[in-house]
């Protein structure tokens, strides 16, 4: 099936599409820039690739055409993936894919911002992660990283023309709805900044809204307030040294992040973690998912004014964190996975402790459900608020609970199992209407499924080695270092040169708490990543926020934002 896709494409676009061999098994093709939109449209319409997961730009200064742009496509229907590559020289524009996928908008802006690849026909090609006064493109290999820049001027997201246009649109809408309505003057509209510093903005996000009364006529978002160019930082560290940075991406489910990063690098090296390590990754990953969902739901309930639920859920999270702290030593940015295994084994009594904490979770969740499940005010506040339909959700690049809330039973743990997820018995909870209520309830239901996975994993956790038996990847045990020359050499090489990941590229991914979390790794055979691109689940989701907020009221926008679970750490990287 998979090899056929490339062949079919080669037949369809005779000579225009070249297959690129990829030892890691990712379907990859190379197309000319002029054929890109045709190929993408064909893939979407005929091959069922509904989703553009990410757009990754890579800079190869030595090549004739220095930039390579990778389009990561995914089909839910046919359960297949394909990577479409195009090459572009400096100042050679790539045609935009915004007409094919809505998620291309922000992904292309990011490539433009960080690499300076222009996109022809893009409706709003501005910087996205860096400040608008920033000069240069940070991810280019020749960018001087020592250079400091002062960026001080805030950006107004609405110009006078925008406000006039919005007023005209609002007038038309009122006339359409009510027959004849009063004309809305531009002076009737008020611009209000929700964020970057606002009690309900989870992290430094900014949404500037244009309101009439409290109805949002138009919303625009700005991100990048805590952008630290993690991807550039990664290029300056060894593969193993990147590990602690991954915790800081999604600090609500840090262990999932570093486990998935480890898997991605393992995929590029061509090894697989031991069964025991995989089971442990499943356990801590599902615990992280529970924590993430708890935080999201409790903060969401605070947003709609139900403050008490916060403690019922947060206390549980706190209690689970105690176990994770015992496990890995740190509290928030928990770091446990290593490339090739885990940093150490579980502690004694872990199993009983976790089972006990899962009981606490049941108690907290049932308390909360008693308070909200049939509460009229809660239902009024969340049902039919922030609705997104399946088609839009896929086009915007939704994954995870937010996509499942629209009724699509799509979960990477089922569709492309990793870490032995195929051996666990669990269901995929889905919603029906894709509104805020469904997103909350899907998360509540997923916690129950995660709980069952943890119980199964704890029961069947295999014995055996924790780490792979390859000391060019995993640190040798201390006795080997002291007693054998190979041990000393392995230790020396790993510390001084890092893990020698073979040249090549691989896209490793997993089901993060909030959707598809992917790491696109490019190695040139030195000890450092040549390019490491994160595909944070909330980046495409937040790109739809303005779309969701428009037409609702300010309280709706707040409730919707909470249910999307935007984590600024991974959004801004």
């Amino acid at each position: 099936m998979s090899q056929k896709l490339v062949e079919r494409l080669q037949q369809e676009f005779s000579g225009e599409v070249q297959a690129v061999s990829n030892p890691q098994g990712d379907e990859t093709i190379f197309v000319g820039r002029d054929k890109l939109v045709d190929v993408l449209t064909h893939l979407r319409d005929t091959e069922g690739c509904e989703q553009l997961s990410d757009v990754v730009g890579v800079d190869y200064p030595d090549r004739d055409q220095r930039f390579e742009v990778n389009y990561l496509l995914r089909s839910w229907k046919n359960n297949q993936r394909i990577i479409v590559k195009v090459a572009a020289g400096e100042d050679e524009p790539v045609p935009t894919a915004t007409g094919v996928y809505r998620s291309a908008d922000w992904h292309e802006r990011e490539v433009f911002d960080l690499l300076g690849v222009p996109f022809d026909g893009h409706p709003d090609l501005r910087r996205i992660l860096c400040h608008h006064q920033f000069e240069g493109h940070a991810l280019r290999k020749d960018y001087p990283i020592e250079q400091g820049q002062e960026c001080s001027r805030p950006e107004h997201l609405f110009s006078d023309q925008d406000i006039n246009a919005a007023a005209r649109r609002a007038t038309n809408l009122v006339t359409e709805l009510e027959g004849a309505g009063d004309e809305i003057h531009p002076s009737d509209l008020l611009t209000v900044n929700l964020g970057p510093s606002h009690p309900a903005m989870h992290g430094a996000l900014r949404a500037e809204v244009l309101i009439d009364g409290e109805t949002i006529i138009e919303a625009r978002t700005e991100i990048g307030y805590i952008h630290r160019c993690f991807e550039k930082e990664a290029e300056d560290h060894t593969w193993a040294q990147v590990m602690p940075y991954t915790d800081r991406l999604n600090y609500c489910s840090a262990m999932l992040n570093n486990s998935i990063y480890a898997s991605a690098v393992e995929k590029l090296i061509g090894i697989e973690a031991t069964p025991r390590a995989q089971a442990i990754r499943v356990i801590v990953g599902e615990l992280s998912r529970i924590i993430d969902h708890l935080v999201c739901v409790c903060a969401n309930l605070v947003d709609v004014g139900a403050l008490t639920n916060y403690w019922y859920l947060y206390n549980v999270r706190e209690s689970i964190y105690e176990s994770l702290e015992k496990l890995c030593g740190s509290r928030l940015t928990t770091n446990y996975a290593r490339i090739g295994g885990m940093s150490h084994d579980l502690y004694d009594g872990f199993e009983t402790e976790i089972l006990h904490k899962l009981k606490e979770m049941d108690k907290g969740n049932s308390d909360v459900m008693k308070l909200i499940a049939r509460n009229g005010i809660f239902l009024d506040r969340t049902v039919d608020v922030g609705v997104i339909n399946q088609e839009d959700a896929l086009s915007f690049g939704y994954t995870g609970p937010c996509l499942r809330a629209t009724g699509l039973a799509y979960d990477l743990r089922k569709s492309s199992p990793y870490w032995g997820y195929e051996n666990y018995d669990f269901a995929i909870p889905t919603g029906t209407s894709g509104d805020t209520h469904d997103r909350i309830m899907v998360r509540m239901a997923e916690m129950v499924q995660s709980r069952s996975i943890i119980v199964q994993a704890l029961e069947n956790i295999p014995d055996g080695p924790l780490n792979v038996d390859d000391h060019s990847v995993v640190m040798p045990p201390k006795e080997k270092v002291y007693d054998s020359i190979e041990g000393v050499m392995n230790q020396f090489k790993l510390v001084y040169e890092g893990i020698q990941v073979p040249a090549g590229e691989a896209y490793g991914f997993g089901e993060g708490a909030n959707g598809e979390l992917g790491f696109f790794c490019v190695s040139d055979g030195t000890g450092n990543p040549y390019r490491l691109k994160v595909r944070p689940p909330c980046f495409p989701i937040f790109s739809s926020y303005a779309f969701l907020a428009q037409g609702g009221m300010i309280p709706d926008a707040i409730a919707t934002l909470g249910s999307l679970n935007i984590i600024a750490g991974e959004l801004d990287r």
Binding site: A200, E214, V304, G305, L307, Y310, P555
Partner: protein, 423 residues
Amino acid sequence: MTIVFDTLAKIGFFFVLIMGLVVVLIWMERKGAAFIQDRTGPNRASIGGVRLAGLVHPVADVFKLLFKEDVAPANRHAALYNLAPWLVMTVAMSTYAVIPFGDYLTVAGRRVPLVAADLSVGLLYVLAIASLATYGVVMAGWASNNKFTFLGGIRATSQMISYEISMGLALMGLVLVFSSLRLTDIVAGQGDLIWGFLPKWGVVVQPLGFILFIVAVFAETNRNPFDLPEGESEIVAGFHLEYSSMKFALFFMAEYAHMVIGASLIATFYFGGYQIPWLPRPLIEANAGLILTLKLIGVALISMMIAMLFFRRAQKEKGKFGDARDREPVLGAGLWVLVAGGALAGLVLKPWTIGPVGADMVASLLQVMAFVAKVVFFAWLFIWVRWTLPRFRYDQLMHLGWKVWLPLGLANLVVTALVMAIV
């Protein structure tokens, strides 16, 4: 002259009652919220190691707020900005003028009614003053010159207009039943019994009116689920966003003063005010000696029990903290032993032989206590609801006010009128 003195004394009583209750309510809110949310609540502020279960916190808060810098926005409308907190607080306090907190007290042969101003249009006065409070909120929202405070002010106005009407309609039903706008008459009327056993409380004769009224009162006090003017997660802190130090404290205290008033109004209109069910005043006066004796014994027993609890804690937690806090249970036990001792000492005075003057005082005291107990209960209800329900949305609140509560209020009025005409 005496009437001026009487009135001043009553105003003084109310001032002490409200301010005292405000402090207690702030404590109750924080401890109650903590109880509901599985937390400990305030337990740090202390005087010499005695924390009074967190009661020292409101005092510490007051001192903190008094000495804080008063930061005000540069582009405010200075006069309105400064006036707003005072207006809110003054209005909150003035509703109390017409609320009876007891029947009467005989002082030097004069019967002094226990109400500051027994207005014949007391009910209208309550409604009029209640809507004035919104002006303070709107002024604060406007004068701060901030978009969020402005939105808070708008929300407060629309909320007030929507719920004022259903509140008035609910009360009209009550007026039909008791045929008076005078609050003392309404309360006196609730002392009767229906069919000889059911107290003729407002809630019994006007159950729907009660529900309409209590919701309207919640909306008028700007408490959750109607705390839209503050709406902290949506419009930051709403109308009082730009206030700090003592001006903020005035808004804060006014919220609790409004709660006391809301609770008092619920108690007065629907739960018999100072009336104790099945225990009318003549009965109390006739058996004053017995009641007082039982009461003293009861107080002594309960205090002894509390003292015992403290004593056990003192034994169990000996040297637990290693600082002044260790003194706490000992002092607590001592305090309650003193109360019990006082009550027992009262028995020495042979309370069962009490005379008519004493009987009158006992009756008044019991009534005031019944009133305060009801107020505290309903204030707790406010707290309970706040920590249970989510917040409404602006348009949903309007929808409820205009499309549900208003027709229900009208229906209630019509049905009450028909029933009154037939009966």
